[in-house]
Symmetry: C2
Subunit: 701 residues, 2 copies
């Protein structure tokens, strides 16, 4: 027996009650009924409004409890003040799901927030699954469920394999309209509203599970619980269903607006980017790119590599595309000799048989030229995907379309058509035949980049199957009180228990103990004040490097204690840490941070100015796979530093990966204990010699 | 008497001969005649073709010399092999300009290149100004001069204040078509073809000078002589006419294709970006952005600052725009208290009076809401430009349009409408009323960024008027032979003559001389082999730092000589440079490079890994203004390093600017002598203490 998703009654209701139904089809409370009737929803519809006996010819009930038949979904379109009462009646009637249009909640200040919390409580206590409040509702075009008052309900809404879940109502509606203009058909359009109960990821979970959906798109400003999204993304990756998301709220002004707008937390944008990449969620910069990607994913197979073959009718567009491709990490490989020779047979001398290939305008007079060139390029083993660019062609459009469709049938590689100023009819013909056609050269390249990124995430996920499940991490990070800050020595010991190599060290309570420790460790040594209360040792004068003899150690001990006492009279001082001086190695920073949205995330960056000036860091959610750790390092702008520059030998990258994985294990095992952890610096020695943690800070709940 | 531009007979011919004219209007040789007749060109047209007596009812001449009247422009549409002969006849006839459609020249291999050189020679010797060969020709819609066979000649071509010059024919035609779809009217469309005579910048020069043209756009792959473009840009900046250019050929594959495609040099992309910024040329990433910018420039006043007011009907789009604005350097300021309070009076409580302002969908029911909100935001002194975003609105479009036009009339600040999925009629109405309307939120922000960048370039140019003229720099950089490489000591002396502070140093010929020099300079010192043949001193073991006593100096002297001899037995060694050790300071690299396209360019970067790993450098063409030098530093990603990080004091930035200006003066005065110059490192001391050149390399022709 198939597993039935808990949101089945919500998304595929057998019957719908409309609370506050109106006869005026222009009103919010009137529109869903009109849409349901117009589109031919096949379930039962029960208008509820004490003011009417009939609405649009249907019997109208004074309350939802008066309805003589079972109700799966309630559309709540009553004023904010009446919502709680309406929900209570729904619960009494046994309704299992509701969509609450009403506004006047979290988006309206403190009073609204209080009301919204009560709505959320009602839902939680009763088990009623509730979307909203302050939502435009949703559309399920497969079953003609028009539980919305959005303009998305107007016009043609043919079902299709694309789902769209949006936190923004108005912007989401505009995106839906743009998609329709392009002939993209959505199976689901869902606005999550204030997310008092059902969150973005809950809604996404349902559409990912629906076998009729193949591509999922979304718009978000922030998440209440990011781990839910990661879990959905894991499932989607397993099912091979790409998720494309526009995430806004990067900027200060944007985050300010996002906060005032939906009340959700914007979160660190870098963490979003990191975990999206980790889980194969493709991030689109804006709505056009979102729809370009959705179009490419729904119509193209996935490429097996990064090699892009570019075929154009214009040398200029070819150069532009090659530029963009290399800029975003695709390769535009030299074609194989056989390919070039085959192209030479068909392409005029003033064209180009190099990649980008220029077939010239001659392909109009000679239709075989286009077909042959594209087929030959697509057969080249170095080419994993191709773009054909052309402009205008009002008169010869039919012929071009026929040729392109023929080529598409013969290849298993993705082929995108970039057609500038294309005749509308030609675009329609291509789309109807299942060809991805975009209006610009660079947008086609961007879309292909998305396909490549997803294909790579999927390959990674397949090879790591089982090891990637999202950690079940408790919500609610501990408060600052009750936290315990470990000293550097304690923090390093903790790391050492997880197999991380740390600089040899001993805590000493007196100058003579320090001298003895130094003798055992070997000169020169570093001296550091051991105190959970002094974190910035340099500022506190609580650090001596390169201490090279017993006298200096003894003097250093006393001086450090004195200056630490002066800097922070109330600080607890556990002693002075005498530590091996590690002189070489590339500085790296590794951190573990408990993110409000995604739980524990691991960070890595190159030390010093790279982190401080360029903020060159990468994040991934725990648990990390080996591939995740590798990718994090590759993502750093300064990655080349680790390969050895300015005469330095290449650094031991595998040992950094091991450290990242150890931190991930640590977070996994001590998920509820460790709030924050920093290794700064981790000194990475030349290849084969490992990496040594020299300073660290751990904070426990 | 007004100055008549030398290309007047080319662009505004009183009569046109068509060499190789055909009766077949589908053919390349037939199309211009059809276009000229269809569009009502008012001058005389003379078909030339020995095969016909009449073409399209006009008398046809066997040769151009047989035409009984003067001819201003010859359209040459004969096979490549017949072009030279045709040009000779044009010269004999006294024709002053020609456009050569014929292909089979530089784009077709060595034989074609030879033929093209002969065409260029003919033009140079005779004074005939020639566009092409291998060009689609040009269109001057003001005077209905259709000297083209491009599809750009088909359909409506109403004149307008925008000019477009393109090195790519096919891509240019597509861009022209896209512009037409958007209702943008071009006064000129020009394809420069192979540029045997008239280059991109020559053609641009004419359209910049035409008072009917207000905005200039272009597409280039590379330039034969970049200094010409800079000179045109200077004039355009003075006239207040923005130039927007798509420059391709950044990537390896792109440059490969550009080379094979037009035979022009792609040049260093960073240098293009630097000099474009310097001269106020706005660089567009691709064709859509080009047209967005052209639209904004032709319809909006320039903003006075970077403050962007965002007004939306959708919180989501507002956040997206704020993100993008901050990402590209615009500010989204908090609004003034009066503004917020005025907005609070009109905007519903579930909207937002913060920037981005969310007026909510309520503006449909209440038209005054939109008007008032926009007016209030545009009046805010912190707001220099505004964007209004909306989506859909099929039913209320007329009302929205009327409101927007009313707002536009009352403001002198730029206002762009971003309208997603807009009704076509509404867009047309806005455009016809002179309102810049773009189809997406982020594209509107990008376009505004262009306006801001140009406005800033214009203000800089106004304040530096006179000091900015482009240097007249000889072409043809000297060959490697005959060059003279200066030693470090000589190079530093040269710098010192231009007022640059250099580390104190003396060249010594013996160990004892070195010891004496060190004593005078003061310990510790650095020792460096003085040799024009050893540039990488570290690799050669030809460098000792921190040498702290006479014995060490003497020993160092001998060791350096020995290891330099071993490293490069044939190297000329002028002695050992004994130099003051400069221990502090931030490493900066300053360079002078003679670019094949733009002549001498100055480079600056932060030293060490910033240059080597991140390639974080900025370029400007000589001569530099103070503002140019400032901007170069500001452009570096690591610019914050100079402000002081990790506890270091802020560096003496004014002294770096002085060094850049000194290098610019040096290049200016010794333009034909200095081929290359590098200061690496320039150590920048804490603020107020200057910057010291520690090592340098100069290469003379």
């Amino acid at each position: 027996m198939a597993h039935v998703h808990s949101l089945e009654p919500f998304f595929r209701p057998g019957s719908i009650a409309i609370l506050g139904a109106s006869e005026d089809f222009v009103k919010i409370s009137g529109r869903p009924l009109k849409f349901l009737l117009d589109k031919g929803y096949r379930g039962k519809v029960f208008p509820v409004n004490p003011k009417y006996e009939k609405v649009a010819g249907l019997p109208c009930y004074p309350t939802v409890t008066a309805i003589p038949e079972p109700v799966d979904l309630a559309i709540v379109a009553v004023p904010a003040a009446a919502v709680l009462e309406a929900l209570d009646q729904c619960v009494a009637k046994g309704v299992r799901s509701a969509v609450v249009f009403s506004s006047g909640f979290g988006e309206m200040g403190e009073e609204g927030r209080v009301l919204e919390r009560r709505v959320a409580e009602r839902a939680r206590r009763s088990g009623l699954r509730l979307c909203g409040p302050n939502t435009l509702g949703f559309v399920n075009t497969f079953d003609r469920v028009m539980a919305t008052f959005s303009q998305a309900g107007e016009g043609e809404t043919p079902p299709g394999p694309i789902a769209f879940v949006t936190q923004s109502g108005a912007f989401g509606t505009a995106i839906f309209a743009l998609a329709r203009q392009r002939g993209l058909s959505f199976g689901y359009f869902v606005n999550s509203g204030n997310e008092a109960d059902l969150e973005f990821a809950d809604l996404l979970d349902y559409v990912v599970a629906d076998p009729k959906v193949r591509v999922i798109s979304g718009y978000i400003e922030g998440l209440k619980d990011g781990r839910k999204l990661l879990a959905v993304a894991d499932r989607a990756l397993e099912l091979g269903k790409p998720i494309v998301i526009v995430k806004v709220g990067r900027s200060a002004a944007g985050a300010r607006a996002a906060l005032s707008h939906t009340g959700s937390l914007a979160g660190s944008d870098r963490i979003y980017s990191g975990v999206f990449r980790q889980k194969g969620i493709i991030r689109a910069a804006q709505e056009e790119e979102l729809l370009d990607l959705v179009s490419a994913f729904s119509l193209c197979p996935l490429p097996e590599g990064r090699g892009l073959g570019i075929v154009t009718q214009s040398g200029g567009a070819g150069v532009l595309m090659a530029d963009r491709a290399e800029e975003i990490g695709l390769s535009v490989p030299e074609l194989a000799p056989e390919t070039k020779s085959a192209l030479r047979d068909v392409i005029p001398a003033f064209g180009s048989v190099k990649n980008p290939v220029d077939v010239t305008a001659q392909f109009i007079a000679d239709p075989a030229l286009l077909r042959t060139s594209l087929e030959v390029v697509l057969r080249d083993p170095r080419v994993d995907a191709a773009i054909f660019y052309l402009g205008l062609m009002e008169r010869f459009a039919d012929q071009v379309v026929a040729n392109l469709l023929e080529v598409k049938q013969k290849t298993s590689k993705p082929l995108i058509v970039a057609w500038a100023a294309a005749p509308e009819a030609a675009l329609r013909a291509l789309r109807e035949a299942g060809m991805c056609a975009l209006p610009s050269a660079t947008r086609a390249v961007n879309a292909l980049r998305g396909l490549v990124e997803y294909a790579e995430a999927r390959r990674r996920s397949e090879s790591a199957r089982g090891g990637r499940k999202t950690l079940d991490w408790g919500r609610g990070a501990g408060s600052a009180e009750g936290r315990r800050v470990l000293t550097a020595g304690e923090s390093l010991q903790l790391l050492s228990r997880y197999g991380i190599k740390v600089a040899r060290a001993r805590v000493s309570q007196s100058a003579s103990e320090a001298v003895q420790a130094a003798a055992e460790i070997g000169y020169p040594v570093a001296l550091k004040v051991e105190s959970p209360d002094i974190r910035h040792k340099t500022d506190a004068g609580a650090l001596r490097l390169d201490v090279s003899g017993p006298d200096e150690v003894a003097r250093g001990f006393d001086e450090l204690v004195t200056s630490a006492r002066r800097y922070a009279p109330a600080a607890a001082i556990h002693g002075i840490l005498v530590q091996e001086m590690v002189r070489e190695g590339t500085e790296v920073i590794v951190g573990l941070h408990r993110d409000a949205q995604f739980g524990p995330v691991v960070m890595v960056g190159l030390g010093g100015i790279f982190v401080e000036v360029l903020e060159d860091v990468a994040f991934r959610a725990v648990p990390l796979t080996h591939a995740d750790a590798e990718e994090m390092l590759g993502e750093l702008r300064g990655a080349r530093i680790l390969e050895g520059v300015r005469g330095r030998p290449p650094a031991d990258v595998p040992s950094v990966i091991e450290v990242l994985l150890a931190i991930s294990r640590l977070a996994d095992e001590r998920a509820h204990e460790v709030a924050e952890l920093d290794i700064n610096p981790l000194l990475v020695l030349p290849a084969g010699r490992g990496a040594v943690a020299v300073d660290a800070l751990a904070i426990f709940d």
